[in-house]
């Protein structure tokens, strides 16, 4: 955290609030007046309204006086500013210096002279009083200025001087967010005499006379001892594993002890270390039941986030992302690779626009109780991202910079030139050549990241501003991701007692992706990675003239040549902003208004220059443009009530969100030469008609009403109930609105009398919840019958010589009855904290059932196409999640915390009225239309459905089972993460391990690139395949021969940091240098590049699971960076 705990933490609020007063105190004429008002101030503290009046009057008076005062001051006192730089000087020496620089004279006593401590000060053009305040704060002085005389005294240390004993103490206790903290235990030290704070955090206590010290304690907070006084302002600090820290939930936040649902919050300190291109990657291995799988190792590649299993068969298991209260659309903001050429590829991660360094915390809402407030978009879970705000109470400048080198984590063991010649002399081109095509195409890639931010906060508001730049080279040549982003977050409060609060968050970013000719569904002509793996090692990269060597016509191309004739750049601009208004109508009743916009533009230019391969050999250029404008309008009322034993928070709101999205696509073929990039002028393409120009423009609207009640009795018994009614234009006329209820109960057992005194158990809570959430992630317009016009559906109605008459076809088989998919989820959870944070954790059991699953299935014939429909049947996900952690060592010098989390998952498809749904399309030669995934009753979602490979016969020919078998293993049955943070004095060492077991991956890359028949076709194989016993004449059959365990254990990150001791450099708050190793090693049996990828191979809108095809290889990275704060 940014704020440095200092000696004045507990009273800082009060100190700073009185800052104005303190300045006034410097003028003796105001002294008595201030005394009077101060008295009034505290006397009237309970009446806010009167306080407002008082404040207004006070301000008025103050301004009047200050005019006069200012005038008087300039006349009588020194008004110039001072430049002071002094190092390691004692107080007397500093006073002498100040006397030199100003007209003031100092008066001090023996205790000042006796102070041997030294101080370093550096001020430029600063007021005298500011310098004095600073010095007084650091040296524990108090001073008064009388004319030109400055009288300095050592501040009284509590208990040092026998003060007049107080008979009663009173005051307020605030939490770390300056909110009243009710229920705090206050005891007169050494006695049984005590009280608790009320709902407003206030207390008063008649002292028995045992001592003059009060002990403040509250569960989850560090205990404090303070001298008793009549007007105490106490701020309590949560213990580090704070049980009562506030966690962000949908439409607000709750204290952790009041949470009834299953949710996890991760803050910056616990984010994944290393190069994180997008926010979702920060969560990798951190939250049980949240699986984050990159679609490939390419920088900025799409990411699949799956919370609590696969709840849906069709594509669309992505959770809802909410950034600072604005729910994002899950649609791609940038185009994927165009089909044609090497084949289409998935769009980049839409979250790439968000700079991960701007993120303060991420909450993952997993169960229905937590997510149901997001209704029809909550069923895949909800991820709430909160960006940073200023909270330093001082200007804080942060600069973070790192440079990293990434290299491929694992190379495949392909045959070298001489090995190749030995086994395949007929296909050896040059026996002396030995080209390692992986070395040729892959590189050590450089990443640089620079982040700069500054922030500040005041009593009423704060701001945070950042700019950042990330440039990440891919480990494949020519591939690069670059992002520029900026953010401004501002909060301010207005009117009486901060009645009106305004908050603006605004971020803008531009990302630039330079792609390489890779794809997820290359046809028989292949793409870069497959060609890299297949390329004959006895062929050179360059010919004798220094030109790229032409492999010529063998269906195998020089991969460097592929890079040479391909050019692909995507530029995406995205702006996300929102303004939040909070207005307190009455004490406890607040109105909030939230307006957000999300605007993005993206242009992708893909060029294939004319070439001698079969891939767009006459040249082609494609341009795709995406544009999106989404906006959000929300009103809601919150009401909080806290009585003696009752605490009630209620929320009611309305939300409207509109998603406008459009895109165009056009292309030309017959590119004449390479001298001009068609992206700059498509007219260089000779054939403007060969590629059909297409476009789309769609609107989706959501309108919702929602409400929630959180009730707590005595801090022990908790109830949460929520209801959301969601209407979507995506649903059919008869089913516009869905209703999504949830209920949850919680029991803070540790607050029961029988456990309260138990030292072992600091916290023990039982939670249970039930609720329903929905899923509306289907394409737009599927409920409506519409026609579209396209030349591709046209015909030469008047003879070939005449122009084509465009065809009008029904776009789809409409389903006017379509409604949302429902997920009903129950959750049973237990949170515990033993020995005051020594051991803490939680366990959750969940059972999630999807009904009314939306699927794309064949319509009753005759009809136009498949139809989106709600199917009977269920998809059940069950599992046990746990996280357990502990502060193993917690001393001044050594701190060590270890967290382990894990989740099991059991998935089953039940009662579907269709025989089977196939997905997971295989790529490669001779396998078009083949699939590997099956959704079938009684089996896990996306199980593998393959012929069983029984081995090779004596000729090396494969023997297969007659029928396909089902293998349930596309999803891991157990996923886990281990995170450790260790610090010794200034050195920190942390690491993170992630892993999974029980999962298989279909190695489509191997099928497409690495089989013995390659040797007949002048292609390479790995030495494992060479020794597998397979014959060169073995036919290619899709089977479980290519199904491999993807169990792995990975050292995801290792970070070593050193924080310099900056106590002596007064302008510097922090200087940390760090080194991070990312993805350092992986223990796995998987033979491909990376066991933790998932290539999208959806068929007909239904999700593929557990596929690896031509995945961009994963990389290991080493970073060196520094963080500077002042």
């Amino acid at each position: 955290m940014n704020s440095q705990p200092g000696p004045f933490t507990d009273t800082r609020g009060a100190t700073e609030r009185n800052e104005t007063k303190k300045r006034l105190q410097t003028h003796p004429r105001l002294q008595s007046l201030i005394k009077y008002f101060s008295h009034q101030y505290f006397k009237n503290m309970n009446s806010k309204l009167t306080l407002f009046r008082f404040k207004a009057t006070f301000l008025l008076l103050f301004s009047l006086f200050s005019v006069q005062y200012g005038w008087a001051y300039t006349k009588a006192d020194f008004s110039g500013n001072i430049n002071l730089k002094i190092e390691h000087a004692g107080l007397t020496r500093i006073f002498e210096e100040l006397e030199e620089l100003s007209p003031y004279k100092f008066s001090y006593g023996q205790e000042i002279i006796a102070d041997r401590r030294t101080y370093s000060l550096s001020f430029k053009n600063q007021e005298f009083r500011v310098i004095m305040d600073e010095l007084a704060g650091r040296a524990g002085l108090s001073y008064t200025i009388s004319g030109q005389l400055v009288m300095v005294k050592k501040q009284a240390v509590p208990g040092d001087e026998p003060a007049e004993p107080v008979k009663s103490a009173a005051g307020r206790v605030l939490d770390e967010n300056n909110l009243p903290l009710p229920g705090v235990n206050i005891v007169e030290k050494g006695s049984g005499n005590g009280t608790v704070t009320d709902a407003g955090g206030a207390f008063s206590l008649q002292l028995g006379g045992t001592s003059q010290t009060l002990v403040f304690s509250f569960i989850g907070y560090e205990s404090l001892e303070r001298a008793a006084a009549g007007n105490m302002m106490i701020q309590m600090k949560p213990v580090s594993a704070g049980l009562d820290e506030v966690v962000v939930v949908g439409y607000g936040s709750v204290s952790k002890s009041d949470v009834t649902g299953s949710l996890s919050e991760i803050n910056e300190a616990n984010f994944r270390n290393g190069i994180n291109t997008s926010a979702d990657n920060l969560l990798q291995g951190k939250v049980p039941g949240v699986r984050i799988i990159n679609s490939s190792g390419e920088p900025g590649a799409g990411v699949d986030v799956m919370i609590r299993g696969a709840g849906s068969i069709r594509s669309g298991s992505t959770p809802l992302f909410v950034v600072d209260g604005v729910p994002l659309s899950n649609d791609d903001v940038s185009p994927g690779g165009p089909s044609g050429g090497v084949g289409s590829s998935r769009a980049k991660n839409p979250l790439n626009f968000l700079n991960p360094s701007d993120i303060e915390s991420i909450s993952v809402l997993k169960d229905a109780s937590a997510a149901a407030i997001y209704g029809a978009r909550g069923s895949n879970g909800v991820i709430l991202i909160t960006t940073k705000s200023g909270n330093s109470r001082k200007p804080l400048f942060t600069f973070d910079s790192y440079t990293g080198i990434s290299t491929v984590s694992k190379k495949l063991n392909l045959l070298t030139g001489s090995e190749y010649e030995a086994v395949n002399p007929e296909q050896t081109y040059d026996p002396n050549a030995s080209t390692d095509w992986q070395d040729v195409i892959l590189r050590s890639a450089l990443t640089t990241s620079n982040n700069l931010s500054f922030s500040n906060s005041s009593e009423t508001g704060n701001y945070f501003v950042s700019v950042s730049h990330l440039k990440q080279e891919g480990i494949i040549r020519e591939n690069q991701f670059e992002r520029f982003s900026g953010r401004i977050n501002v909060n301010e409060s207005f009117l009486d007692d901060q009645r009106l609060k305004l908050k603006i968050n605004l971020t803008a970013s531009e990302t630039k992706d330079n792609g390489v000719p890779t794809s997820e569904n290359a046809g028989a002509t292949g793409e870069l990675i497959t060609h890299m793996l297949k390329a004959n090692p006895t062929r050179p990269v360059y010919d004798e003239n220094g030109d790229l060597f032409d492999f010529d016509t063998e269906g195998s191309y020089n991969p460097m040549y592929m890079l040479d004739f391909f050019d692909d750049e995507t530029r995406t601009l995205r702006v996300l902003g929102n303004i939040e208004t909070r207005f307190r109508i009455l004490q406890g009743l607040e109105y909030q208004f939230n307006y957000g916009i999300d605007r993005s533009f993206s242009e992708r230019n893909t060029t294939y220059y004319p070439n001698t391969t079969e891939i767009e050999n006459i040249g082609a250029y494609y341009q795709q443009n995406y544009e999106a404008f989404n906006y959000l309008l929300e009103h809601y009322l919150t009401w909080s009530y806290a009585g003696n034993n009752h605490k009630l928070d209620a929320l009611a709101g309305f939300s409207y969100q509109k998603f406008d999205r459009s895109g165009t696509f056009f292309g030309v073929t017959d590119i004449e030469d390479k001298s001009l990039n068609p992206a700059n002028n498509p007219a260089v393409g000779g054939n403007q008609d060969a590629v059909e120009t297409t476009g789309f423009a769609e609107i989706n609207e959501l309108q919702s009403y929602f409400g929630r009640i959180n009730y707590a009795y005595g801090g022990k018994y908790l109830l949460t109930a929520s209801l959301r009614s969601d209407g979507s234009t995506r649903f059919g006329e008869n089913n516009k609105y869905g209703l999504f209820p949830s209920f949850a109960l919680g029991w803070n057992l540790s607050r029961e009398s029988f456990l309260r005194e138990n030292d072992l158990i600091s916290n023990l809570k039982l939670r249970t919840s039930w609720g329903q959430t929905g899923n509306q992630e289907v394409p737009n317009k599927v409920t409506q019958a519409t026609y579209s016009v396209a030349s591709s559906n046209g015909y030469y109605l008047n003879g070939e010589s005449n122009a084509l008459v465009d065809g009008i076809t029904y776009t789809r088989t409409a389903n006017p009855d379509l409604k949302w998919e429902v997920v009903t989820q129950t959750n049973l959870g237990l949170d515990f904290d033993l020995c005051r944070g020594r051991l803490y954790g939680s366990v959750d059991y969940f059972s999630k059932t999807t009904t009314d699953a939306i699927l794309l299935v064949p319509a009753i014939s005759p009809n136009f196409s498949d139809v989106w429909t709600n199917m009977d049947g269920e998809i059940v996900n069950k599992g046990l999640e746990f996280s357990i952690g502990g502060h193993i060592v917690q001393t001044e010098a050594i701190k060590w915390t270890v967290d382990f989390n894990g989740a099991t998952l059991q998935n089953e498809v039940k009662n579907l009225p269709v025989t089977e749904i196939l997905s997971g399309g295989v790529s490669g030669s001779g396998v078009s239309g083949e699939t590997v995934n099956i959704y079938k009753n009684g089996y896990a979602a996306g199980s593998f459905y393959l012929k069983h490979h029984q081995g090779f016969d004596e000729d090396g020919i494969s023997i297969y089972s007659d029928d396909k078998i089902i293998i349930e293993s596309a999803l891991p049955t157990f996923t886990y993460g281990l995170n450790s943070q260790f610090s010794f004095k200034n050195v920190e060492l942390s690491f993170s391990v992630t892993g999974q077991s029980g999962a298989y991956l279909f190695n489509n890359t191997k099928l497409a690139t690495n089989t013995m028949p390659n040797l007949l076709a002048s292609k390479n194989v790995t030495s494992e395949v060479l020794h597998s016993g397979q014959s060169k004449n073995d036919a290619l059959v899709v089977s479980d021969y290519y199904l491999e365990s993807s169990d792995y254990l990975r050292l995801n990150s290792l970070r070593l940091a050193y924080t310099f001791n900056t106590a002596r450099i007064n302008w510097l708050k922090q200087l940390t240098v760090y080194a991070v190793g990312q993805n350092l090693f992986t223990i796995t049996d998987y033979s491909g590049y990376d066991p933790s990828v998932n290539t999208t191979k959806n068929v007909g809108g239904n999700s593929s699971l557990g596929m690896d095809y031509a995945s961009y290889p994963g990389s290991s990275s080493y970073l060196l960076g520094l963080t500077l704060k002042f």
Binding site: T553, L586, T612, T613, N617, I618, H635, F654, Y656, S662, D689, A690, E692, G695, A697, Q703, G727, S728, T729, K736, K781, A785, T786, Y787, V789, S792, N793, Y795, L797, N798, E800, L804, D806, G807, Y810, A814, V857, P858, I860, S861, P862, N863, S865, P913, V914, E916, G924, G926, V927, S928, G929, E930, T931, T1011, P1013, A1017, A1035, L1036, V1037, V1038
Partner: protein
């Protein structure tokens, strides 16, 4: 104090009002801005023509695509096989399943064709549904054409699948379950609709029509075809294939309609036989109804039937316009040509390479070259020769840069393996149509349609014949034969045999010769000599009782295979269906 409270109350009320006012800002009616919503279709300029266009365009996936009905009609027969060839064409066994008769209700190609046909039927029906309320010029003509196309597609569904889910295009509703028709009832409806629309159809060439449109003449051809096969649909499972062709005067109807076409002044037999399937076949005098393709327009056509059969290293131009090394014929069928090699329809040496014949026997050293290399036509057996690409260009004759070297070809994927198209297939497992990598050249190839190399590999300007005069002659011959008019049948067959010419290896033109007599087997073979590779073989084999016999990788099979199963996906969606017998 009062003011203060008033302010509060007012604020509260104002906010509540605002809250409620904004609380209902949309009725959630989905706006569609990039497509035409159904209600607006009639106000779209030219919608009728565009709907009709789209109705015709459905032919592409059925009749011009090797995976369309052509796949079921050809690959299930002895004429065509698409075997697994090493690493190519396995595709989950979907191609060989059709040849091996191992298809079932979940077979990919069975389901694909069911869906494609049904979506074509739906398109035709929707076109009828819109046009029936139209008042534009020609709406009656358009309506008749759309209804006739509905019949064409429905007839194909009957032929392949037996049962028809029926929604009356004249009274169309997609919200109600379709009626399931038997083949017999569906055929009756097909005939009735055709008879009803003939008066409104154009005579070919009138009213802006051409062979790409469904005219009166196309209707006669379709009626002839329906009547020729009707007996099969009425008794599909007849164990001995003894169909009642001559009952109900079906053959008379065939003769009636074929007579109309043969005597029509609009058509005549093309003497240069392979030109019927050439790049320049637009408005060929034989074409009665064809699917019009253009290689350069916005809908670029397909080259499937030839490039599928060509070897990958048979390149028609240096832009890598290569073949796919897929389909070939079977030795069983090829043997039927053994005594008929001099038939001009068997093979043609092309003269298109600058007027010099392409001998394709190793004797050619080089040939004139103008940007495209032209291959021979018809059946291709033995070692193949042709140009070779180096560095993005064909290797040219060093002595004459305007001539392309013609060299011995090797297999692309196995460069040491000579491209020798063997007559024998010799599958390792006789029941499995699969070759290992070193066997991938096997099988005699068929280059009946011309390879249109002008644009890219998968574009073509060759119009795909659906009905042509040669086929009409075969139908009349068969009808006459079944009515015991053997001499009449023989006359028609000999008309076809003697009207055609071809080019031999020396570049000389030669005509076919007549045959003296005709029996059933001869007739059966003669029909295929005219119509091979045109998607007719399965119907021929069923009518002549040879479909159940064993050939190539296919064993002897039960009669139920004469009709394909209703796909499982349809059975899942529509519980009214009862699966076809045997599946």
């Amino acid at each position: 104090m009062l003011n203060q409270n008033l302010f509060r109350i007012n604020t509260f009320l104002a906010l509540t009002a605002l809250f409620l006012a904004l609380g209902s800002c949309t009725d959630l009616k989905e706006q569609v801005i990039d497509e035409i919503i159904s209600e607006d279709i009639s106000s779209v300029e030219g919608a009728e023509a565009s709907l009709l266009s789209a109705t015709y365009a459905k032919c592409e996936d059925l009749f011009a695509n090797y995976g369309g009905t052509w796949c079921l009609q050809q690959m299930s027969t002895d004429e065509t096989v698409l075997p697994v060839r090493g690493e190519d064409w396995s595709d989950g066994g979907k191609w060989r399943a059709i040849h091996e008769f191992t298809w079932n209700a979940s077979s990919v190609k069975v389901e694909d064709n069911w869906n494609t046909l049904n979506s074509a039927i739906a398109q035709a029906a929707s076109t009828v549904d819109v046009i029936k309320n139209s008042t534009v010029e020609n709406h009656e003509l358009y309506m008749a054409e759309a209804r006739a196309m509905w019949v064409l597609y429905t007839f194909n569904l009957v032929d392949l699948f037996g049962q028809v889910p029926y929604r009356d295009p004249m009274n169309l509703s997609y919200s109600e379950a379709p009626e399931i028709l038997t083949a017999e009832r569906a055929i009756r409806i097909c005939i009735d609709v055709l008879l009803e629309v003939i008066p409104n159809l154009a005579e070919i060439g009138s009213n802006g029509t051409h062979c790409g449109r469904f005219t009166k003449e196309a209707a006669y051809a379709l009626l002839a075809k329906i009547y020729l096969n009707k007996a099969v649909y009425e008794d599909r499972y007849n164990a001995s294939s003894a169909f009642g062709f001559t009952s109900n005067a079906c053959m008379d109807s065939v003769i009636l309609y074929t007579d109309k076409l043969i005597s029509s002044p609009h058509f005549e037999l093309e003497d240069d036989y392979f030109e019927i399937f050439g790049v320049d076949n637009s408005n060929n005098p034989e074409l009665i109804f064809a699917y019009i393709q253009s290689a350069t327009g916005a809908n670029t056509g397909r080259n499937d039937f030839t490039y599928l059969s060509m070897g990958r290293n048979q390149k028609a131009n240096p832009d890598n316009n290569r073949g796919s090394n897929a389909t070939c014929t079977t030795p069983d069928y090829y043997a039927t040509w053994d005594a008929n090699r001099d038939d001009p329809r068997f093979h043609k040496h092309t003269l298109k390479n600058g007027g010099e014949p392409f001998r394709n026997d190793g004797a050619d050293y080089s040939l004139p070259y103008d940007g495209i290399f032209h291959f021979n036509r018809g059946f291709q057996e033995g070692q193949q020769y042709g140009p070779i690409i180096t560095g993005g260009a064909f290797e040219m004759d060093p002595a004459n840069a305007a001539r392309v070297l013609v060299q011995k070809l090797y297999t692309e994927k196995t460069p040491t393996l000579a491209m020798d198209f063997t007559r024998e297939l010799n599958f390792d497992d006789p029941a499995i149509a699969a070759f290992s990598q070193n066997q991938i050249n096997r099988g005699v190839r068929v280059f009946k349609q011309e390879y249109d190399a002008e644009n890219t590999r998968n574009t073509s300007g060759v119009d795909i014949s659906v009905f042509r005069l040669g086929g009409i002659y075969t139908m009349r011959a068969e009808a006459k034969f079944r009515k015991n008019d053997v001499s009449g049948a023989l006359a028609d067959i000999n008309k076809l045999r003697t009207s055609r010419w071809s080019i031999d290896a020396g570049g000389n033109k030669y005509y076919g010769e007549s045959i003296p007599s005709l029996d059933e087997e001869t007739l059966y073979n003669e029909i295929s000599y005219e119509l091979y590779w045109e998607g007719e073989r399965r119907q021929e084999m069923i009518r002549f009782g040879t479909f159940d016999k064993s050939y190539s990788a296919k064993p002897e099979t039960d009669p139920y295979f004469r009709v394909f199963p209703i796909p499982q996906s349809e059975l899942d969606a529509n519980k009214d269906f009862v699966q076809n017998e045997g599946y």
